[in-house]
């Protein structure tokens, strides 16, 4: 196993020095920014209203996907017609124990990344086995994922030795940007070691 406790320490140290994930809040579509419901540095919870956008006479409240602190709020945009994808604020979200584990696993496991910006689904067989078994074994050439783009579905197969699916990094049916992790794999004999690593992080990372 390439990973050792020294490397884990380095990763944890890095996470502790910046224990946040920054979520930009962008307009999902065009419209007038009618209201800003938060202030700079305000703590918000997941689901809390942030902004009100009006398009075609319909008002839509944009809500926080995650809890955290509001930063870099663009008050100057209030009342203006905004294009899609305009960044209005950031939420600095403190990493939970589970998220810290995911961050470490992302750099520890053999990661299957999205080859294209596309919609991804689990292969039906893998999906069924993930429901039945906690960490199914996949063999070389086995269909792992289905990538959907340009009106075509392309299977992504497992390359390399038999491995275990240890972690799912995406939500099926959603568009994943190229290069983002989809699955985290490891050798079957590495599972106990990784479980110890997870236990260690859970022990050392404060509960949120």
């Amino acid at each position: 196993m390439a990973l050792n406790h020294k490397r884990i320490n380095q990763l944890l140290q890095r996470l502790r020095s910046h224990p946040y994930r920054i979520y930009p809040v962008e307009t999902p579509h065009t419209g007038y920014l009618r209201k800003i419901l938060v202030t700079e540095e305000q703590e918000v919870s997941a689901g809390e209203g942030l902004l009100v956008l009006e398009r075609e006479r319909n008002l839509k409240t944009l809500r926080a996907r995650v809890g955290g602190r509001v930063r870099h709020l663009r008050k100057d945009l209030l009342g203006r017609f905004l294009e899609a994808g305009e960044k209005v604020l950031e939420i600095w979200h403190p990493l939970s124990q589970e998220e810290a584990v995911a961050e470490v696993l992302r750099e520890t496991l053999v990661v299957v990344r999205a080859p294209e910006t596309a919609r991804y689904l689990l292969a039906p067989e893998v999906e069924t086995r993930l429901l039945k078994e906690k960490r199914p074994l996949v063999r070389p050439g086995e269909e792992l994922l289905i990538m959907t783009f340009m009106k075509r579905e392309t299977p992504l197969r497992h390359e390399g030795p038999p491995m275990v699916i240890f972690k799912l990094f995406f939500s099926p049916h959603q568009v994943v940007p190229a290069g983002e992790p989809l699955l985290g794999l490891c050798l079957p004999e590495e599972v106990p070691y990784l479980e110890r690593v997870m236990a260690r992080i859970q022990e050392e990372w404060p509960e949120s």
């Binding site: 065009t30 419209g31 899609a84 080859p115 294209e116 910006t117 596309a118 783009f149 340009m150």
Partner: protein, 463 residues
């Protein structure tokens, strides 16, 4: 009133609409998505808005209002054949002009089954098959059995059927069956696909014509009741996924190919049938009537496309109105804004042969797999007989977005006859350089070698 047109589309068609607007002295506004930021249609537009999705009517209408537009051009694809969108554009509290047919016409001709029923009423031949959407696999199997029997009785040695999504289009959601036993599983698959993609589970079954040519009739009508045609084009060369790759105008060329039937008479017949149906629905914009023609000279109406098509320019390239060149987009916009044609059928003449090549980033050796990646170099030799329509910049690299089809360019080539147009097409393809790399870092391949090979098959019947 000075009109301002919202161009609700992307890529090469957005650029062609810009040309037509400039030609008519009209202002225009473009929209684009984040994935298209490098496209030439975004670079060229002076006024533009980033939207989330070209398919979202709310985005298009919000931008149209904000930018003070008076008309919307939908281009092709996306919202072009969505009658609900067309209806909303003209029925809202601040109505706009929809550059396309009336919404009722889009609704009625958008349904393949309705077109079939209408065609039968008008004694226009259609491909034998179901005329109602099927939802039940037992009924589907019974209909399929009857169609297999009909094909066998009509001398077909290897009868096959097509099972299609009733609401499909663009070659999507179509599967072929050869045995009755295959019908039920394929029906279930197509039905699930139809539900997923089109939101309607309806499925149709048709006899599969083994050998045919795919012809199109280009029509133009106006709200004032005028109606003309711009002849035919031949779109037989298609990828295995039924995506058109080479188109020619005119649809038949008896000087180039020997037909077992009177090609001129058949062309006149399918034009006449197309005009008959267009008159019956009071067709009032540009539109395409698609036909399948067998080697024996039987023609069957396939469907109607109530929009401008990708390949409209191949028709325009050989057409003349009182000796002058034609721009069908310009004509479409003019009539939508209330102008009359200003000419009649006898003013329209045809000159030479035109051919269109669709350059696509696809791996023709591996199931025509669409490719994304970066184009680092795109060059070709200019010529007076050549028009290239592309949204891909030639002075810098370009990322092919994965959100859309990997179409790179359309090359429209004119020649005095088919031999000359083929020679020029070979010359053009020989000069094309498209270099780049895929997202995986492999050299980017395109369909240029496939197009070179397929030039030998123009005007042939496809099997």
């Amino acid at each position: 009133m000075k009109h301002r047109v919202l161009i609700a589309n992307r890529g090469e068609i957005a650029l062609r609409i810009m040309d037509a607007c400039e030609d008519l002295g009209l202002e225009y506004v473009a929209v684009y998505t984040r994935a298209d930021e490098e496209s030439l249609h975004v670079q060229r537009a002076r006024q533009k808005y980033r939207i989330s999705d070209y398919r979202d009517p709310n985005e298009i209408l919000a931008v149209a209002d904000e930018a003070g537009c008076t008309a919307i051009h939908p281009g092709y694809g996306f919202l072009a054949e969505d009658f609900r969108f067309a209806r909303r554009v003209v029925k809202r509290s601040s109505p706009l002009i929809f550059i396309g047919p009336r919404w009722e016409v889009i609704r009625d001709l958008g349904s393949k089954l309705h077109v079939k029923r209408l065609a039968r009423e008008l004694e226009i031949p259609v491909v034998p098959g179901t005329s109602e959407p099927l939802y039940n696999e037992i009924e589907a199997e019974a209909r399929a059995e009857a169609l297999f029997a009909w094909l066998s009785e009509n001398g077909e040695e290897d009868p096959r059927l097509l099972i299609k999504a009733a609401a499909g289009g663009g070659g999507m959601g179509i599967e072929e069956v050869r045995e009755l036993d295959e019908v039920r599983p394929v029906f279930r698959r197509v039905r699930a696909y139809a539900k997923r993609l089109f939101g309607d589970e309806g499925v149709v079954i048709e006899a599969r014509l083994r050998r045919f040519q795919h012809l199109e009739v280009q029509l133009l009508g106006t709200p004032k009741g005028e109606l003309v045609h711009f002849g035919t084009r031949n779109c037989t060369i298609q990828s295995p996924g039924r995506q058109k790759r080479i188109e020619l105008a005119p649809g038949f060329d008896p000087r180039f190919k020997n037909y077992t039937f009177d090609a001129q008479a058949l062309e006149e017949e399918i034009i006449s049938h197309s005009l008959k149906l267009a008159e019956a629905v009071e067709y009032d914009s540009v539109g395409t009537w698609e036909w399948l023609v067998t080697p024996e000279g039987k023609a069957y109406l396939l469907e109607v496309n109530t929009r401008i098509q990708v390949e409209n320019e191949v028709t325009a390239r050989i057409a003349r109105i009182r000796g002058k060149e034609v721009n069908l987009l310009r004509e479409q916009i003019r009539v939508a804004l209330g102008e009359g044609l200003g000419y009649v059928q006898k003013d329209i003449t045809f000159e030479g042969t035109a051919l269109e090549l669709r350059l696509v980033a696809e791996d023709t050796e591996r199931g025509f797999r669409p490719l994304s990646g970066v184009i680092e170099r795109f060059t070709f030799s200019e010529a007076p007989w050549l028009t290239v329509r592309t949204h891909v910049p030639r002075d810098r690299s370009y990322h092919i977005p994965t959100e859309y089809d990997p179409n790179l360019a359309l090359a429209i080539i004119w020649g005095r006859d088919t031999q000359e147009v083929l020679a020029r097409a070979r010359e053009f393809l020989g000069s094309v350089v498209i270099q780049g790399r895929t997202a995986r870092g492999d050299p980017l391949v395109t369909n240029v070698p496939y197009l070179q090979e397929k030039l030998a098959e123009v005007y042939e019947f496809r099997s």
